[in-house]
Symmetry: C2
Subunit: 393 residues, 2 copies
């Protein structure tokens, strides 16, 4: 019988130009740690300045931590948390893409808790200690559209020494406020637009086939799949298409709500293993590389849900033999990849060797075992290796 918790305590301001409202919105403190990426994008595009201006307008003081890189590292998180603690920051505001916001969440958590982030992580080498104190309040200003971190408590941080990339979150790591202003995504180049959009797509698709999906998460998932199917090619091919950008930003937001009401599945465990060993591989690209093999494997185990997803992507299954119907989703996925120019991504292009497949599968099982428990069919290590091998190019 249906049984679930629902909790998405984040207030979201969604829409073109909404960043300007930050100067009027009640913020959770008088001294902020502003977290941005190490790159120049936030500064060059003026996004950081607009946030700082809003803070000044409210008489809020701030310090800046600007060392975050894609696949953010625990080392940077711990350094920033110490900095926040030493300076008595009262809240953390992340300005950027998912890596920055995830790092901001982890910094907010570790600014209020003793020890090391891996003391609290529940899988891999994490010690699984209970988190004692609520994180500092977190504000997220999104400049990309993809992960949905703006509407979920999850952070994905990598321990480079341990080669573990692990997702974690507690109720207090939901942002209290997220600004999703699609205008800020206009500057995202086509390739990143595509792989980030597909990240949202996979969050929705995995959340839809996950064991713990509920009618609430399903409603979100199907909307995401429909929105991305209809808008991602447009956003990739014409980055100035603000309507497409808005719909992709909405899909990203909803994909966060999927993750707050359902879960990712083992596809994410598998990808995390890839980027744990190859941090230069973007997360969305990793997902794209394994997606055909992954969803082809699961099609026979969750046929009804695959058919529903295919229908959201404009496919018809009428007249097909029953056993073929679920694979129409995989066909639709491949078509969408091609339309977005990301159907030819290869592991070998990112330095992944053919003989790494067992190592990756073992890492996935070890570090993100929890997501395997979300699958409706439990993958063996052998099957996991087979999927990696089928995906390898």
């Amino acid at each position: 019988m249906l049984d679930f918790d629902f909790s998405i305590p984040t207030k979201v301001l969604f829409g073109v130009g909404r960043l300007d409202e930050l100067k009027r919105e009640k913020l959770p403190g008088k001294l902020a740690l502003v977290v941005v990426s190490a790159g120049e994008t936030m500064k060059r595009n003026g996004y950081l300045d607009r946030v700082l201006t809003a803070l000044k307008h409210q008489g809020i003081e701030y310090l800046i931590f600007d060392k975050i890189r894609p696949n953010p590292s625990k080392a940077h998180v711990m350094e920033a948390a110490q900095f926040a603690r030493d300076n008595f920051c009262e809240f953390v505001i992340g300005v950027g893409g998912a890596s920055t916001i995830d790092a901001a969440k982890a910094i907010a958590l570790m600014a209020r808790n003793p020890g090391d982030l891996w003391d609290y992580i529940v899988t891999g080498s994490g010690k699984g200690k209970p988190v004692k104190n609520a994180a500092l309040p977190i504000v997220a200003v999104m400049t990309t559209a993809g992960t949905g971190t703006e509407a979920d408590p999850w952070m994905v941080i990598t321990d480079r020494d341990l080669q573990e990339k692990i997702g974690f979150g507690v109720p207090s790591t939901f942002p209290c406020l997220s600004v999703v202003d699609p205008e800020l995504t206009l500057s995202v180049p086509p390739f990143l637009t595509a792989i980030q959009g597909f990240d949202a797509f996979f969050h929705a698709a995995e959340g839809f086939i996950a064991e713990i999906a509920t009618p609430i998460s399903e409603a979100f998932s199907l909307q995401v799949i429909r929105l991305i199917f209809k808008n991602l090619p447009k956003a990739v091919h014409d980055g100035s298409d603000i309507e497409a950008r808005t719909n992709i930003a909405l899909a990203s937001l909803l994909s966060g709500m999927v993750q707050s009401t359902s879960s990712c599945t083992s596809e994410h465990s598998m990808e995390h293993a890839m980027t744990a060993f190859h941090p230069e591989l973007p997360h969305g690209a990793g997902l794209l590389m394994i997606s055909e093999a992954y969803f082809s494997f699961f099609a026979k185990y969750v046929p009804d849900r695959f058919i529903k997803m295919a229908h959201m992507m404009g496919e018809t299954t009428d007249g097909l033999p029953e056993e073929e119907k679920p694979y129409t989703f995989v066909h639709a996925l491949q078509k969408l990849k091609k339309e977005c120019g990301v159907d030819q991504l290869k592991m070998s292009d990112y330095g992944i060797q053919a003989d790494e497949m067992e190592k990756l599968a073992r890492n996935a099982h070890k570090t993100m075992s929890n997501l395997f428990a979300m699958d409706r069919y439990t993958l063996s290590l052998k099957e996991n290796i087979e999927i990696f091998k089928a995906a390898y190019r």
Copy 2:
């Protein structure tokens, strides 16, 4: 361009047996005001005892206010708020149906704010003063399935002297915790099951055709319509059908989320006028009485949305002339009413006279003018009277 705020800060525990978790769930204070209805149902069914036991288990003290009646009155709200203030209650826990929970919200608000509730109400004779202080934290334990008050900030309170029944809410009147345990609805008799279920249905349908609907509210709305179409007749005809009860409880919860992300429309303004003058008329029954006339009027103004709702109710519109298609929703609605045994409700059975139609329309426009602004076609007073007249039997 799409632009919206999203905020549903309520944590929901949904599922059969979840009431028992109240004894472990973190509650927002050490002294509770427990609000229940004046009737015997909560006591006879043991629901009140189960809540009190949970409070005792957590060492939480409580006081009880048990005077709430359907269409709860401002007088009771103000009395209970004074009682809460005088006794330093730290939070309010409502145990019951929508009337009780709405009253609990109003009590929590007025326990922390000076003056009269109507000082803050923004329509009708309300003075529209800004609410100064956040309400006491509110916990909702639902024993009926219908309004969705468990997942929205809205309270509907009646000033009997002014004959004004007005909806109101502020961010702090979202429950911080709602327990939606479908088992508690097993004891709701068939007629109440039907009219409360239809209340959720209308919240979803109105929210779907409202001007401010968003893709998020739409996803919720369509789920509600589908769930109620499939399950309400079952729940009405076999009250022990726990699967149907669970699906209706879910529909109710989602209908609250519709109201937190979209809005009701003028149908609710019209019904509030009916119950303002005839407080013995149940809200859901009032909505049912005007629904055919109301939705028939609006069908031509929002045809695409009516067609989508009809499709969620199993109707096909293929082959019909374009202008007839939206009316398939009205047909589906009438069929569903009949299946639930509520197609013959008459205003005259509740003492409403034929010559009251203008008075009702004027009251609707005066006290709940805000919802008329949510319609995609702005009703004149004359048209409003016409709808009332068409509905009168």
